[in-house]
């Protein structure tokens, strides 16, 4: 049984395998889904064919789809003028609409803009479907109508849609999604179910095989749609006093829900895809996308099936608050489902929560039962109309409309493009470009250093990744918090490049710089006498003295044992307190020995 579990964990090419327990009247002791040392590992990175199953082994295909909620980085909420702020005092940022007081309608303050919307007749008529050309011609019934919506939120969604290769719907609609929950004061959420703002996109992401940075593959997940919607409030459960406290500060904040097709098959793929999305959102500035602060929330839909059979019943895993836990939660869930099925059980279409302490998923009690969200068009919001260069009416004030083409032209370089540019421009390895982009500000730091030094970028990257980054990580600092600025590091690297200091001395200077005492590398070099001996005659004399004192070694070298030369070099280094250039020392020694 343990072996079988191990097999499952080793699944490849999108197929996980496990011995099917035929007629298992007494299943063995239930093992944790991830027995020590057998953690399910991303597997289909190679994307290879399904290995032929050994007899008694039936392969499983896990299917993973993601629904990602990204909080739009905006000063105010989607349909109300309330501010958006993380960790504000509870219920301090709540308008009447946010609290769903009777009679309130989705609106915004005068600081908001209007989107021109058109529909025939009263707004109610829009429920009847798109207007016919004939109706549009009817001047009596044809109106221009202004909808209310936070412009910033719409732009963020359009940017994100474009960055994810989506087609942007020039007309999108809002719907109500109904469910009862303490932090959903209206009893429904305004979302875009029927016609969302963006559809049919894709996201490319890379991941490495077997944790080797050198073996990276690129995969693509299809984006089904991006929809604008309202966030809910927060419920805080006080189990000891058995009460629930509700904070509505978050209620009504604009969200983008990115729905991914079930194109992934393990936790690591999902994690890589989410990481890439996170980078894109942060590059665009459309969301801060910090998972720990709930700005990026990922729900995973997981199912398993045998190859050639229809997809299995899926579960939805929620409460995942880091990318690491996402991978863990998905892999746990895959494993759990396989075990459940192989033990003769069935998978329930249920919502499960990931318990990060226990490392497992558990059914969410309050989300039990099949939910029917009873979607309905939101009658208080006319359609959201966007324009492109072609459809933009000539006399339209551009402040009043959103022009998709205008946004497209101004999209910043996306992470994939940035990486490509880094590789092409600086000749660094692709995997290094990933590391550079993975740390906020590191690529900029790198580029800044490169600009200020004569050292080749290929050498600079070593200092950035091996020295700077590992120091930062050791001290849990961000790039911005680094005590060594790009300017200081460039200075240091220039000293090294000009051969004024040796490599070990440079590391010593770096350590000094890290203390952040405000000294320049040159000052440190002088203070600690780390500069290389620039006087060749002095060096020659030292070399000669070493040769003179080491008769045996000289004999050995002359007899052909070149390895011994290193000992002599070391001795010279010792005498110069490391301030000699080993290459030069070697040359001098060789010259003298051959004389």
């Amino acid at each position: 049984m343990a072996a079988a579990v191990a097999m499952a964990a080793r699944g490849c090419g999108g197929v996980w395998r496990r011995a099917r327990q035929r007629g298992a009247g007494q299943p063995g002791p239930r093992l944790g889904p991830f027995p020590r040392g057998q953690r399910a590992v991303a597997c289909n990175a190679r994307g290879g064919a399904v290995p032929a199953g050994k007899s008694g082994l039936v392969p499983w295909v896990p299917v993973v789809g993601l629904e990602i909620h990204a909080q739009i980085s905006s000063n105010s909420k989607l349909f109300s003028g309330s501010q958006v702020q993380f960790a504000a005092p509870p219920n301090s940022l709540v308008s009447f609409f946010d609290a769903s007081l009777p009679g309130t309608l989705p609106m915004k303050s005068c600081a908001f803009f209007y989107i021109m919307c058109s529909f025939n007749g009263p707004a109610g008529n829009r429920l009847l479907g798109s207007c016919t050309v004939q109706n549009k011609m009817d001047k009596v019934l044809f109106l221009f109508q202004n909808a209310v919506l936070n412009r910033r939120c719409v732009e963020a969604a359009v940017m994100t849609g474009l960055a994810l290769n989506c087609s942007i719907n020039k007309k999108s609609l809002f719907d109500r999604k109904h469910y009862f929950y303490a932090d959903l004061p209206a009893g429904y959420q305004i979302t875009q179910q029927r016609v969302p703002i963006a559809v049919n996109g894709s996201l490319s992401y890379s991941l490495c095989i077997d944790n080797k940075m050198s073996q990276m593959v690129t995969k693509t997940v299809r984006i089904k749609q991006i929809q604008l919607e309202q966030d809910s409030g927060k419920s805080l459960h006080d189990d000891t006093r058995s009460q629930t406290l509700v904070d509505l500060n978050r209620a009504g904040v604009g969200l983008m829900e990115v729905v991914m097709e079930p194109d992934m098959c393990c936790g690591e793929e999902a994690a890589a895809a989410v990481r890439e999305l996170q980078l894109i959102l942060q590059t665009l500035g459309s969301s801060q996308a910090v998972m720990a602060e709930g700005q990026l929330r990922v729900d995973a839909n997981v199912s398993v099936h045998h190859p050639g059979e229809p997809y299995g019943v899926r579960t939805e895993v929620k409460n995942i608050n880091s990318i690491r836990f996402l991978a863990k939660a998905i892999d746990y869930e895959i494993q759990r489902q396989i075990e459940e099925l192989e033990n003769g059980g069935t998978i329930l279409n249920e919502t499960r929560a990931f318990d990060s302490k226990l490392g497992c998923t558990v059914p969410m009690r309050d989300k039990e039962g099949k939910q029917d969200y009873r979607f309905m068009p939101e009658p208080n919001l006319p359609p959201l109309i966007l324009y492109d260069a072609k459809s933009l009416p000539a006399n339209m004030n551009h402040q009043q409309v959103i022009n998709i083409d205008w946004i497209h032209e101004r999209l910043p370089d996306l992470p994939s493009v940035k990486r490509k540019k880094l590789v092409e421009q600086y000749g660094i390895l692709p995997e290094h470009s990933f590391t550079l982009l993975n740390e906020d500000g590191l690529a900029e730091f790198f580029e800044s250093v490169v600009k200020q030094t004569q050292m080749k970028p290929k050498k600079v990257i070593g200092w950035i990744l091996k020295d700077l980054l590992s120091y930062l990580k050791q001290h849990s600092l961000t790039v911005k918090e680094s005590p060594v600025s790009s300017f200081l590091l460039a200075d240091l690297l220039n000293l090294l490049e000009k051969k004024e200091i040796s490599s070990p001395a440079a590391k010593q200077v770096f350590m000094e710089l890290w203390k952040g005492e405000g000294k320049t590398p040159l000052e440190i070099v002088k203070e600690q006498k780390l500069g290389l001996l620039q006087d060749q005659k002095e060096l020659e004399q030292i070399c000669q003295a070493v040769i003179d004192g080491q008769e045996n070694e000289v004999m050995a070298i002359k007899a052909g044992n070149q390895k011994v030369l290193n000992k002599l070099i070391g001795l010279v280094q010792k005498k110069t307190e490391g301030r000699s250039n080993p290459v030069l020392v070697k040359q001098l020694l060789e010259k003298k020995l051959s004389e």
Partner: protein, 599 residues
């Protein structure tokens, strides 16, 4: 095309009524003439439609005018809004006096149950403020100092807003509905909140938690003279008729002279229907013309704030002060609304009145049919083109409305979970059981029934079958109107109700759903299409109860609609309700004046 409204006589014989209007003649004869004419309508005998000496808006048309001259401030309550506004301006009455007299009348007519909340204190304060403005010579406009009432499904800051439901009993909103705010900003004095069916779901104003509203006409001389108790054992107590609904409280308030105008709401006819039964003007403006912000919704895509007044001119005043874009309601139109005074209709040659044949619905009373026919002839004789038109899909309007209304109700009522506001059950077993108990205790059967069916229609497996289909039908209904108006028709003329007001005891024999389906039949389609429509009180029935006719106009063509309505109003000279209570109060002004003059 000959205008004919086919009437079914008792014997099943179909005859065409040809009633001509003949200008001139004493005004007082009209009602009697109409009633007398009824039996002979099928025989095609013309009833005399007398031209009035003056329209109500013009001051001297009503008996009140005489008394007013006799004693300053007397009979003030029975005048129109415009007239009383002029009196305030001239100093013939002060806002405080007016307010006190209205409040006193509200107390005397308490048995009507028209008001849920009387905001005596704030009303008097508002009146005082108004008085100061008048003294400074700086009134805010025509509405300054005018006592008004608001249906209790509009939010009013500081004054309870209940929707006649246990769910919101005691609920005090922190904000004013846009329409309420606009009225207050223009100096109106808010007397109180009027009764309705719970959450405006009903057509009788009988299904609220505060009990049914009684039609003031039940206590009128006109009704008492005509109605003969069925048996001697039946006392007057069981002889009262309903107001219609759901804005029955507002209609009763205007009809019984306790306020000069009232706000109602109209989703399927809730303003026009009680207006017809209570003999007042009820205007449902075009969807999108008046803000819904603060109106507790029934069906968002059909709700409009309604206006109830004594005469068409007053409705235009209210419309002018309420219409326009509201950033808080994104379905209001952007275009500026220009308040207007209703011009006199003189040129009939370009006016085309449509008579939709489908409005000759089963159950339409013969006297209303005759009245309708007579009204058509009135226009024809004045020189207007009167044509029969067809709105073939109107007959699906009720069933379509049933699906769309309940679906939106299910959605809109979801917020009443007992957490943020309103009733919360003591049930503490779980959040879900608390929700369930709260909603069971908070809503009546009608509301719960609609929520249940609405949720059924919205279920994933039913959505296409019911909701989407109903939306398509709604489009067909709306397109019917588009076609008719495109064919050159300006205004449609229809009955507002199938009959005059029912006895309460009879009305409650049927359940709310059946009643609503029957009563909304003539008014509902205008909501489907978002069109403006108005009830104009037209005559008294055989029972001495008001009967009204409805005019439906093109979208945003309120001016044209009201122009035609005003002309018609002037022709029919609807009689003034004769109420003992009002007579007493409207003449007893000096007592109040004395106490008020020192404040």
């Amino acid at each position: 095309m000959g205008v004919g409204i086919k009437t079914r006589s008792g014997s099943g014989r179909v005859a065409t009524a040809r009633l001509s209007a003949q200008p001139g003649g004493p005004r007082s004869q009209w009602a009697a003439a109409f009633l007398a004419a009824l039996p002979i309508v099928p025989r095609g005998v013309a009833a005399r439609w007398r031209r009035a000496a003056a329209a109500p808006g013009e001051g001297e048309g009503r008996s009140a005018g005489v008394r007013r001259r006799r004693r300053a401030g007397g009979a003030m309550l029975r005048t129109s809004l415009r007239q009383v506004s002029a009196a305030l301006k001239d100093g013939r009455v002060t806002p405080t006096e007016l307010c006190q007299r209205c409040l006193a009348l509200i107390k005397t007519t308490k048995f009507l149950n028209a008001y849920i909340t009387v905001a005596e204190e704030t009303a008097l304060k508002q009146a005082e403020e108004s008085e100061k403005r008048y003294k400074r010579g700086q009134p805010l406009g025509i509405l300054d100092g005018i006592p008004i009432a608001v249906k209790d499904n509009f939010n009013t800051a500081g004054i309870e807003t209940t929707c006649a439901s246990n769910m919101l009993k005691g609920y005090i909103s922190p904000y004013n509905a846009t329409v309420v705010q606009k009225l207050l900003d223009q100096g109106a004095v808010l007397l109180g909140k009027t009764n309705l069916d719970e959450f405006a779901m009903g057509s009788g104003s009988t299904d609220g938690v505060f009990g049914p509203v009684r039609n003031p006409w039940s206590y009128s001389k006109q009704y008492k003279d005509k109605s003969v108790p069925k048996s001697h054992s039946e006392d007057e107590e069981s002889n009262w008729v309903i107001t219609g609904g759901s804005s029955g409280g507002s209609a009763a308030a205007v009809s019984s002279f306790t306020c000069f105008a009232a706000l109602g709401s109209d989703t399927g006819g809730s303003t026009r229907n009680p207006a017809a039964h209570c003999g007042v003007v009820g205007l449902k403006p075009t969807y999108g013309l008046i803000s819904r912000h603060g109106l507790i919704p029934l069906v968002n895509s059909m709700d409009v704030p309604g206006i109830l007044t004594r005469c068409v001119d007053d409705a235009a005043v209210l419309l002018g002060s309420l219409a326009g874009h509201d950033p808080k309601d994104s379905t209001t139109i952007q275009d500026d609304f220009k308040p207007f005074e209703i011009p006199n209709l003189t040129d009939f040659s370009k006016l085309s009145i449509g008579i939709p044949k489908e409005y000759h619905a089963p159950g339409l009373s013969s006297e209303i049919l005759a009245l309708w026919s007579k009204a058509a002839d009135l226009f024809k004789n004045a020189g207007a083109k009167v044509v029969e038109v067809s709105l073939p899909h109107t007959r699906y309007s009720i069933v379509c409305y049933h699906v769309l209304c309940t679906a939106e109700v299910a959605s809109n009522m979801a917020r009443f979970d007992g957490l943020e506001y309103g009733h919360r059950s003591d049930m503490k077993d779980s959040t879900e059981s608390m929700y369930a108990a709260t909603r069971r205790e908070g809503f009546n059967d009608v509301v719960r029934g609609r929520i249940l069916s609405g949720n059924y229609f919205l279920l994933k497996q039913n959505y296409e079958k019911y909701f989407v289909k109903a939306q398509k039908v709604r489009r067909l209904i709306a397109n019917d109107f588009v076609k008719v108006f495109r064919s050159g028709v300006d205004i449609l003329l229809t009955p507002t109700t199938l009959s005059d007001a029912a006895l309460y005891t009879e009305f409650i024999q049927e359940d709310n759903r059946t009643r609503s389906a029957q009563d909304d039949i003539l008014t509902q389609a205008a909501n489907m299409a978002g069109l403006p429509a108005i009830n104009v009180p037209t005559a008294l029935s055989e029972r001495g109860l008001p009967v009204g006719l409805q005019f439906i106009g093109r979208s945003f063509q309120e001016k044209q609609l009201l122009t035609v309505a005003k002309w018609f109003e002037k022709q029919v000279q609807f009689p003034v309700i004769q109420l003992e209570e009002v007579k007493r109060h409207d003449s007893g002004v000096f007592q109040h004046k004395k106490s008020a003059s020192f404040s």
